[in-house]
């Protein structure tokens, strides 16, 4: 078993070595750019333990918990050890958060934003390249200089290696002898571990016999599977996750780039990710991608597990459901509010679904 340090510990150790910390909101950003400037990106996916009334003093109750909790966490001092906050423009809620931080909250950390284009046309690609250059420019202005020569490429290669390691984990998930919870703890350590540590961990994981196939195989879709107890519950209910379409999971399986221009290369990588509503992927493309995952993994049903008020996800649910059910795969949509515990209602829905497809 791999001993994974906590986010706190990772931050402390990185700082001990003179590094700085960037808190990053979901979903997409160039890790390598931050590493080249000496920042370790540590992602914030709506920490569930903050006093949510703090976020409520800036954002209305119909804002999703990922954003409200993140603001609550910031205001309760949870991000005090970070030096900058990157708020990618992923959706209207994160747009609101970025804007409110810049204009009203004024945290002590530097606040940066990043606009990921919503198409995959040449114009979108070129824009993203320029947008990455702008972000780089702001980082240089703020830190007072460009990274040393070579640092860029070193960071790019390292992140590409780590993403290949992540892809291998997914490929070999049935051979790792891990529970779903353990597997996703390792996958999600990509959210805060330095790439070099993630790569080392992946190497340490031994491949064994294929795990026994007792549970009902399901595909888990959504933004983020919180709390992680969800996986224990799914296991107790007699099911197991054999594939995912999670924004913090396979939707971020980035491929290596080809270009010799570092900015073009970073853009190539971000563009290589599987379809995602926040990037504007057509729904039919998402459905085809899911069908493919279902075929490869043998999943008997799709559980869409999403935080309440997540509009990008909600719009796709009826058509995804229709398209997948037409091919014989039942789909169930369950929403949750990000708290410490899973509600009975949520659990009953999942359990009834597993009973139904089992």
């Amino acid at each position: 078993m791999i001993d994974l340090p906590s986010r706190k510990k990772v931050i402390r150790e990185f700082q001990k070595k003179g590094g700085k910390i960037a808190a990053v909101l979901p979903i997409r950003y160039p890790r390598e750019l931050f590493r080249a400037f000496g920042f370790l990106p540590v992602e914030v996916w709506g920490p569930p333990h903050a006093d949510v009334t703090l976020g409520g003093s800036h954002l209305q109750s119909y804002t999703c918990d990922i954003v409200r909790n993140a603001v609550s966490f910031l205001l309760s001092g949870g991000l005090d050890r970070t030096d900058l906050i990157l708020v990618p423009h992923t959706c209207d809620s994160l747009q609101g958060m970025g804007s409110v931080l810049l204009d009203f909250v004024h945290p002590k950390q530097k606040v940066l934003t990043l606009y990921h284009p919503r198409g995959v046309r040449k114009a979108d690609f070129d824009f993203l390249t320029e947008e990455l250059k702008r972000l780089c420019g702001e980082l240089s202005d703020w830190t007072g200089g460009e990274p040393p020569p070579g640092a860029f490429w070193e960071a790019i290669y390292r992140e590409e290696t780590a993403d290949r390691a992540l892809a291998r984990l997914y490929r070999d998930r049935e051979l790792l002898g891990l529970s779903d919870r353990e597997f996703y703890r390792i996958v999600r350590s990509r959210e805060f571990l330095p790439a070099e540590d993630f790569i080392e961990n992946e190497k340490k994981l031994a491949r064994r016999e294929k795990r026994s196939t007792s549970g009902v195989p399901i595909l888990l879709s959504g933004i983020v599977p919180e709390p992680m107890d969800l996986f224990d519950e799914i296991e107790t209910m007699g099911a197991r996750v054999v594939a995912d379409d999670l924004a913090c999971g396979t939707r971020r399986l980035y491929k290596s780039g080809h270009s010799e221009d570092p900015f073009v290369r970073m853009a190539e990588r971000l563009f290589s990710a599987p379809p995602d509503p926040t990037r504007g992927s057509p729904i039919s493309e998402r459905a085809d991608h899911l069908k493919n995952l279902i075929r490869k993994s043998g999943a008997k049903g799709v559980l869409i597990y999403d935080v309440k008020f997540c509009e990008p996800e909600l719009f796709d649910v009826p058509l995804l459901r229709k398209k997948l059910e037409a091919e014989g795969t039942p789909v169930n949509y369950v929403e949750f509010e990000m708290g410490k515990i899973l509600s009975q209602q949520t659990l009953t829905r999942i359990e009834a679904f597993i009973e139904m497809i089992g």
Binding site: K308, P330, T348, R349, E351, A352, E355, M356
Partner: protein, 258 residues
């Protein structure tokens, strides 16, 4: 007396029910009480009552369902009320169809296939006033006894529109109507209509497979039945003990596996 072959218990949010079945799956015994906050004690009481009636329960399969199903330590298995209601109603009415179960905390629409299998299901939004609890609260606020709720609603010759489905907003609408001197009956009828329209939306979302069946405590409410028939154009079929269907289904599952 017929021999007990399996027991099912449904620990719900409003009531707790236990059902015993014989070898053929016939319902031969039951108990129903308001839910005790100390569910474990209540379950023990129920089991003791069963023991007094049938003798030692050691070899009798025992399955739990309902929100408190995980608290039933003695149960061999626990199964969600969705599967149990489907099983129970199928066994009693002997046909596939669409089951509406309006419970205290949740309302569900379940499409039942051959053998009582769940084909699909939908449940109410958290914020929507689509549950039995909401009717109960309103009944209390309007000083109408729960048993008379449906009859009182049906006695109205007109109805007020209650448009909000958020519980808080709907309550404020009702308070406002009362404050404006509107009689209780049309308010109640409008309230039932609003609840039924939420249910009908769920029915449509899974697709109606005839016949339409109703279970859960609210099934005894004639206004719900009548309006559901009006809104769907389908006759509503009722099992003999609508409230016991979860526990009954649980017992049937125990019988099959035991």
């Amino acid at each position: 007396m017929k021999a007990l072959a399996a027991l099912g218990i449904d620990v719900g949010s409003s009531t707790c029910k236990i059902v015993g079945v014989d070898e053929s799956g016939e319902l031969i015994w039951h108990l129903l009480e308001q839910a005790d906050p100390r569910a474990e004690d209540q379950v023990q009481r129920f089991l003791k009552a069963a023991e007094q009636k049938f003798g030692p329960l050691k070899a009798v399969p025992f399955v739990a369902t309902g929100y408190g199903r995980k608290l039933v330590k003695d149960a061999a298995k626990n199964i969600t009320e969705i599967s149990c209601h489907a099983k129970g109603v199928y066994h009693e009415l002997q046909k596939p169809g669409t089951l509406v179960d309006i419970g205290g905390q949740d309302s569900k629409v379940i499409v039942i296939g051959a053998g009582g299998r769940v084909v699909d299901f939908a449940m109410n939004d958290k914020c929507a006033a689509g549950t039995g609890r909401f009717l109960e609260n309103t009944a209390g606020r309007l000083h109408v006894p729960l048993e008379a709720l449906g009859k009182t609603a049906l006695s109205a010759d007109r109805e007020e529109t209650i448009s909000s489905t958020c519980t808080v907003f709907a309550e404020s609408e009702i308070i406002s109507l009362v404050a404006h001197g509107v009689a209780v009956e049309p308010i109640l009828k409008g309230l039932h209509r609003s609840l039924v329209s939420r249910i009908v939306a769920m029915i449509r979302s899974v697709g109606l497979v005839s016949p339409l069946m109703l279970s859960g405590g609210v099934a005894r409410n004639e206004a719900m039945r009548k309006l559901l028939e009006e809104e769907t154009g389908e006759k509503v079929h009722l099992p003999q003990y609508p409230q016991l269907m979860g526990a009954y289904g649980a017992a049937l599952i125990g019988l099959k596996n035991g």
